[in-house]
């Protein structure tokens, strides 16, 4: 019996999966504007008013903080919800029936949602920078930091989405995790202003570290620490392998 032609072409599979997932713009664009741009920009206005007067460091932290908030809403919250939707509406079974590995689907989901998130994140960042009157020294490393962090974040989101019993449970968990990631560590909030427990949690919080490096890259032109990049990539690879091998999606 002859099988279908074995598609050895990894790029062809990945690009097809990516384009399939990119069609999610059709449902996500409205909430993308609200969660990824309007809410973070409103937060900038609120924080600037509430904590006036602000030092340069405070303003930079607020700008990067809302950028990370927009990033997490678009890449963690949305991916978790999307995986839950796919799990409960048969899309994951459809992917499982194709000659592709789970990591390929995850990579395609991650890449497509990251692509879709670039517009609201950029809009949020520009609005925050202009509103807070911040001098901008953009380093190309900024995009590298976001890509590197998106990998483990999306993998975690996929696990949340698949393990949750419903879409609303997945997004509820994602919201709690998003708040935890943004509020722990000194990357976004000044170290003196956060409780000791959150400061300790921040040491293992990739978002906190990423925010610190983003602040350096975007406002000081500093290079990103290669150890951070390598260790985050290593975590992402471990998560991808775990999801591929151990996540029994279908009992």
């Amino acid at each position: 019996m002859a099988s279908l032609r074995e598609s050895k072409h990894l790029p062809s599979k990945l690009s097809s999966l990516y384009l399939m997932e990119l069609t999610n713009w059709r449902w996500s664009w409205r909430s993308m504007i609200v969660l990824g741009a309007v809410s973070p920009i409103a937060s900038v206005v609120f924080l600037a008013a509430a904590f006036h007067p602000l030092s340069l460091d405070d303003r930079q932290r607020i700008a990067v903080g809302v950028l990370m908030l927009a990033f997490l809403f678009e890449n963690f919250h949305r991916v978790a919800g999307h995986y839950a939707f796919m799990r409960h509406h048969g899309t994951l079974e459809y992917y499982e029936s194709l000659p592709v590995d789970r990591w390929m689907v995850l990579a395609a989901v991650m890449a497509s949602f990251f692509t879709l998130s670039l517009l609201p994140i950029t809009a949020t960042f520009i609005a925050a920078t202009v509103y807070l009157n911040l001098p901008l020294v953009v380093a190309p490393e900024a995009i590298l930091i976001l890509i590197v962090v998106a990998l483990p974040i999306s993998a975690m989101a996929a696990a949340v989405g698949v393990l949750a019993r419903s879409g609303s449970e997945a997004t509820s968990i994602a919201t709690v995790v998003t708040i935890g990631l943004v509020s722990s560590g000194s990357g976004i909030v000044r170290e003196q202003a956060i409780p000791g427990v959150l400061r300790t949690l921040g040491e293992v919080n990739p978002i906190s570290h990423a925010a610190g490096y983003l602040r350096g890259a975007l406002y000081k032109g500093q290079a990103v620490d290669p150890i951070f990049v390598m260790s985050t990539l290593a975590i992402a690879i471990i998560l991808f392998v775990w999801l591929e091998r151990h996540l029994e999606l279908f009992g």
């Binding site: 002859a2 099988s3 074995e6 384009l19 509406h89 499982e96 000659p99 590995d101 009992g251």
Partner: protein
């Protein structure tokens, strides 16, 4: 219940050996064994909760049994069984969402993933849109299709790339009669070159294209064979409808386990001997009776209860 076996052992495509599967304390499949031959149109029949979908998920390597084995082409299937994906096109029961791809995108990208070139993928997509008569929805967002149209699209997606085996879980669910006829017509044509495994409630219409079928109930295999063999497995049965039943005759109907569907109307399946008793009651003027040889669907329900 007698279990018959057809002629599939020689050249079996699927071989299911003593498959048992439980979820928590519920036993979904209990020591199920049978084979499916090459080029067969094979039905998996049974009422809700019979274990049909659980069984089919083992056939496509989505689930692992607690005990027993499933073989495809002589090779044991264990999740994720990606090696099978090149041979088998699977349409799951919950085949609702394909993200928000258009119909054409869903077919084209699936074809590309299955190894077709760009030109071949486009050609195959065009052909299947025409075959399933959904070409007018080519650029429609698949999330906006009706339930029946969604199933047609999923059937087309399952077929793209010409897999050797199609495993279809409730392919005609949510379809009106027109779409169901279309599905059966196309599957009948396809069965000349492809093995088709169909899970269905739609026994009446599916029986016209099935070569053999297995009947499950409560996770157990009740019967296996051709539609005729299934019908004959419990002897000749008749579907009866009794009306204008006198009170004395009601006791007889209850004894024969007919179902009262209205104040004065009774339905059910009876064998030849009981049919004769009912005819006698009719001759005595105690009820009005109509009877027809039972269809496979009626037999299926009868066997499963």
């Amino acid at each position: 219940m007698a279990v018959m076996e057809g002629a599939a052992h020689q050249g079996a495509l699927f071989e299911i050996c003593g498959l048992t599967k439980s979820f928590d304390r519920h036993r979904a499949l209990s020591n199920v064994s049978f084979t499916i031959g090459k080029r067969e149109v094979f039905g998996i029949l049974g009422p809700n909760g019979a274990g049909k979908t659980t069984l089919v998920r083992h056939l496509v390597g989505f689930s692992r049994g607690d005990s027993g084995r499933v073989y495809f082409l002589g090779r044991s299937i264990a999740p994720p069984a990606r090696w099978m994906r090149g041979y088998v096109g699977y349409m799951p029961q919950a085949a609702a969402a394909l993200n928000h791809m258009t119909c054409e995108q869903a077919l084209y990208y699936t074809a590309r993933i299955r190894g077709l070139t760009r030109a071949e993928a486009q050609h195959a997509a065009d052909q299947l849109l025409d075959l399933w008569e959904i070409a007018d929805r080519r650029r429609s967002d698949s999330a906006t299709l009706s339930g029946g149209e969604t199933r047609l699209l999923r059937l087309a997606v399952t077929m793209i790339g010409d897999p050797n085996v199609l495993v279809l879980d409730e392919p005609t669910a949510h379809m009106d009669a027109r779409y169901r006829r279309r599905v059966h017509r196309i599957l009948a044509e396809l069965s000349k070159t492809t093995t088709i495994v169909i899970v269905t409630h739609d026994v009446r219409e599916a029986s016209s294209i099935l070569d053999r079928a297995v009947l499950l109930s409560g996770g157990r295999l009740q019967a296996i064979g051709s539609p005729k063999q299934l019908r004959d497995s419990v002897g000749p049965l008749f579907a009866v409808h009794a009306t204008s039943v006198e009170s004395q005759a009601q006791n007889v109907l209850e004894l024969l386990e007919l179902r009262q569907i209205d104040e004065d109307q009774w339905n059910g399946l009876v064998d030849e001997r009981d049919l004769e008793r009912l005819r006698q009651l009719q001759a005595d003027g105690r009820l009005s009776l109509t009877s027809t040889p039972a269809t496979l669907e009626e037999v299926t329900v009868g066997l499963a209860t």
